[in-house]
């Protein structure tokens, strides 16, 4: 891959419980570049939904702080996206 690299980029999985959580995520998405993996856009987020999104290394700390402050349950599914991209090619040539 000669193009874009994703060192340190993270994928968060967040449990959305209520309207407050939805509002917060909309706010975060308006100020931060979030790449939604599931669902594919912020307006699909609803209560009691588990969402996955990708965020740059630089912005992951502030996202994490915002989620912590609002007592939202989350996990980091992927800690280093670039590493995961390389790991996907785990089958050797025949």
């Amino acid at each position: 891959h000669s193009g874009e690299h994703f060192e340190g980029e993270k994928v968060f999985r967040v449990n959305v419980e209520d309207e407050n959580h939805i509002t917060l995520l909309h706010k975060l998405a308006s100020t931060t570049q979030l790449d939604f993996w599931y669902p594919d856009a912020t307006h699909h987020i609803s209560a009691n939904m588990t969402i996955d999104f990708r965020v740059s290394e630089k912005e992951s700390q502030s996202i994490q702080s915002a989620l912590d402050q609002n007592k939202m349950h989350y996990e980091i599914l992927i800690h280093d996206l670039q590493e995961e991209i390389e790991k996907q090619f785990d089958v050797k040539e025949d």
């Binding site: 790449d35 609803s46 991209i85 996907q88 089958v91 025949d94």
Partner: protein
Amino acid sequence: IPGRHSYAKYNNWDKIVAWTEKMVHKHPEMVSRIKIGTTVEDNPLYVLKIGKRDEGRKAIFMDCGIHAREWISPAFCQWFVYQAAKTYGKNKIMTKLLDRMNFYVLPVFNIDGYIWSWTRNRMWRKNRSKNQNSKCIGTDLNRNFNASWNSFLNTKNPCADIYRGPEPESEKETKAVTDFIRSHLKSIKAYITFHSYSQMLLFPYGYTSKLPPNHKDLAKVAKIGTDVLATRYETRYIYGPIASTIYPTSGSSLDWAYNLGIKHTFAFELRDKGKFGFLLPESLIKPTCKETLLAVKFIAKYILKHTS
């Protein structure tokens, strides 16, 4: 020379093109290649027709790779063609299917986007068309179909990942597919599209919470399809209408095909449930394809028996 194609690995576009030629050459009685159009970047859109040369028979149209980064999807289409050609005359079900019906397989729908995801940005989703009055590139091809295209907010921004395009079927890829399906509508009895991820088998509608008239039939097929899929590795899929099972969408190929008159339309969201997301390791390609093939064969058998 594009390099060696492998069903156990992800293949770039050059390898896939060479593979289509090889399949036609190896199985001339069974596989033919139809060029249905070209992309913005002038790549050829190929459909592989699997089956005997009888145009009047029932057919199923399948497409893979509408979204560039969902690499497991094109891998499945390649696997399907390979298994169909290889097991014809050996596997009882596949033989029966191919003796009586045809499959049209579009191995990569969004070719320009797929190439981009290989060369420049692994996380790319849309196609690569330029947008007027915007620096942002690309349209989400699965929002570009004429199915309630104008009724959803939030798909008008060319910079959004789910940008719907300036008008329905504005994209060359969408137009090529819709023209092909319309011109083969008499024979096409089912439409199946393959995405990733989240392990779901979906049917219409996405643009409304209303259920289609034959939803009981579709739900029955989806239930058995997911049960059959699970028999191989116990992979659990959920099933249901798009709007309530995943989330409401407008402009999807599934709803468009249904409204056109193809009353059995399904979308697979393949593995996984998010551990790897769009980065499913190659070591999971074969198991994913094997279990999916079971479900697709079941759906095809159902279509053969229950459609006129």
